[in-house]
Subunit: 210 residues, 2 copies
Amino acid sequence: MHLDHAQLQQMEQRYRATFINSLAGYRQAVLIGTSSAEGQENLAIFNSLMHIGANPPLWAFICRPDTVQRDTLRNILETNVYTFNYVRGDDHAKAHQTAAKYPTGRSEFDAVAFTPEYKAGWPAPFVAGAVVQVGMRFEERIDITRNGTIMIIGSIQHIHISDTLVGSDGFVHLHEADVLACSGLDAYYQPQFIDRLSYAKPDKAPTSLR
Amino acid sequence: MHLDHAQLQQMEQRYRATFINSLAGYRQAVLIGTSSAEGQENLAIFNSLMHIGANPPLWAFICRPDTVQRDTLRNILETNVYTFNYVRGDDHAKAHQTAAKYPTGRSEFDAVAFTPEYKAGWPAPFVAGAVVQVGMRFEERIDITRNGTIMIIGSIQHIHISDTLVGSDGFVHLHEADVLACSGLDAYYQPQFIDRLSYAKPDKAPTSLR
């Protein structure tokens, strides 16, 4: 099947959104925890986490201001702090349900039965029991003017993870904790480990790091 | 285990890079095909594909100018065109090997035995036999000044995919073709499908779309 740009533009809007978003492939499912300046908690699933760099440790995500994600955006811009949380495959339905448009004043933590967890020195709520909990500080907003989306860049301030998941070279074995992955806006996956490979060098086949 | 920002800054550099990059979770493995203005072909693996929007169809990726990835960047800025290609899990070692620093004038297509494929009307090389082949046109470069990385935004111009992978609502069943996923710089995965869930609505449990 071959589709060109003109055919994509002619697609029915919802079909195109599902097609282009799911075609973009596998990604990490991440629950972003925030609270407003008044203390109203919010939790929302995102599929756009991006590694920007390790030194300093910077991660970004993409926000569409025309959806429920705007609560997350507003809270981050108000408070400068937020959390990234990865949950297990078993929790995929609860994670998905955080995308519902709950009325103002209703916390998604409460609505979907995740428990907010506060840790010393960090004012944004984590998801209690999440495999990975990362405290993020807002650093920079980049407006992508072509379609009105917003990239939020933050620095990693706190990481909470079981040390059993971190290998001797720093590699994080997320698959050993059944961490949830996703694609598009509604599909959930459990990645199976194939292999880790040695640093690639010309004309030398990579070897397994297992 | 709890790590704060100061502890991250004190980590040995390679350990930190492996830790922070792999902690960022699962992502799509994508081979970017380009050629220089003089016709020298290049193929390189990236793990930073990001969906920006469906209308117009825009995808981005992140480029670190201090690595072999700069050949890809230079070619895109010279020619304005490139391709995204997804391969199967079986090809993970060949895909990984495209990251090796081959000498100038040596094509990674040739070095790792992927075959370049040219299609009518598109001057950048695809990976022959790839499950997904997407022809991209360069649209915008965003410099992330905090760490010198560069985000390249492009528009989707051509999509080549088997119609058997595209569902009636547009969802792309990548797992049915064993499409390769990755994490960090060297780990490869085969995602297993858990479920697709209906559009999330308040106080109504999502149902399976299978």
